[in-house]
Symmetry: C2
Subunit: 179 residues, 2 copies
């Protein structure tokens, strides 16, 4: 990744004046290209006490169960991204209640952010990125077949809070997987 997005010239990795990190800088037009972490936004959506999960039809973690979530797009709010992803991946309409959890995953430059909410109807259907979609009772969550550590963290926190009738906002940092 080393060409200027503004003019196409070969870029240079150097620290711009007044900055303290190397950026992709264009020697021809001066454009500075910044790379920043991306937000993956999703939600824990319930229907009558059961939680909506999607089985992934795409890599990574194809075949594993996940919360509906995906990259937030320019021009939308975080809550709008969660509603959109729930509709795209699970064919379901969710009413967002509140922010619930945020997981920083520094080594892959991502923030995973989850809301909690309620399905507005019990209708759902696998979208293009899902093999299947289902509602799970808390005691049937497929813990051994979850897609990502952030999803596990979020579901565990959710099921700890739920019996208390009061939800907090939870934050976590995930290190690289080892061994």
């Amino acid at each position: 990744m080393s060409f200027c997005i503004a003019c196409g010239a070969a870029g240079q990795h150097l620290i711009p004046p007044g900055d303290n990190l190397p950026r992709l800088v264009c020697p021809r037009c001066g454009h500075i290209h910044y790379e920043n972490p991306r937000m993956v936004v999703g939600c824990v959506a319930e229907w009558e006490g059961r939680i909506l999960l999607c089985r992934r039809a795409i890599a990574p973690r194809l075949g594993y169960w996940t919360l509906p979530a995906g990259f937030m797009e320019n021009g939308e709010s975080a809550a709008a991204a969660a509603r959109r992803e729930t509709q795209e991946e699970a064919g379901a309409l969710v009413r967002i209640d509140a922010p619930f959890a945020m997981v920083s995953i520094a080594h892959i430059n991502q923030i995973h952010f989850f809301y909690r909410g309620q399905l507005t109807t019990p209708d759902y259907a696998a979208g293009e990125e899902s093999l299947e979609v289902a509602l799970f009772h808390p005691d049937t969550i497929p813990w051994d077949d979850l897609s990502f550590r952030s999803v596990r963290y979020c579901l565990e926190a959710y099921l700890r809070d739920k019996p208390q009738g009061r939800f907090g906002f939870h934050e976590h940092e995930l290190p690289p997987l080892t061994g």
Copy 2:
């Protein structure tokens, strides 16, 4: 902004197969360039009941007071970004206590995320991006000279929560300014 960052060819704005939004796609090497919202991360840092603010030395809103905050960088967690920005802009060391507020600003493709925390010492000094730094009692906050609506939202929520001795997590969406 229309050249391929991977090979320098002129890119095309089109919807890639399996996608539903136009992206900058390279007709030569096939690279797809995604643009996503950026996170601005900062904190409300207290010392003995006073709140740390910085007066901006850079555009936009040069000369106005702000919470220490800035663009989160690749390779760091959100809390690490808040600590780094507090050190860079205010020359101060902060112990992060908890996430406090998130503001979606869809029309500028940003999320503003604020923690709350405590300065570990009463030392501070204006960094390169600050004209001055000061601690403000809640009743001396310069409300008419704040930098951004997200900063005002965060400070108002903070000062509402504080007398109750219990802080929540607050979320807000900001529409474009009109008039």
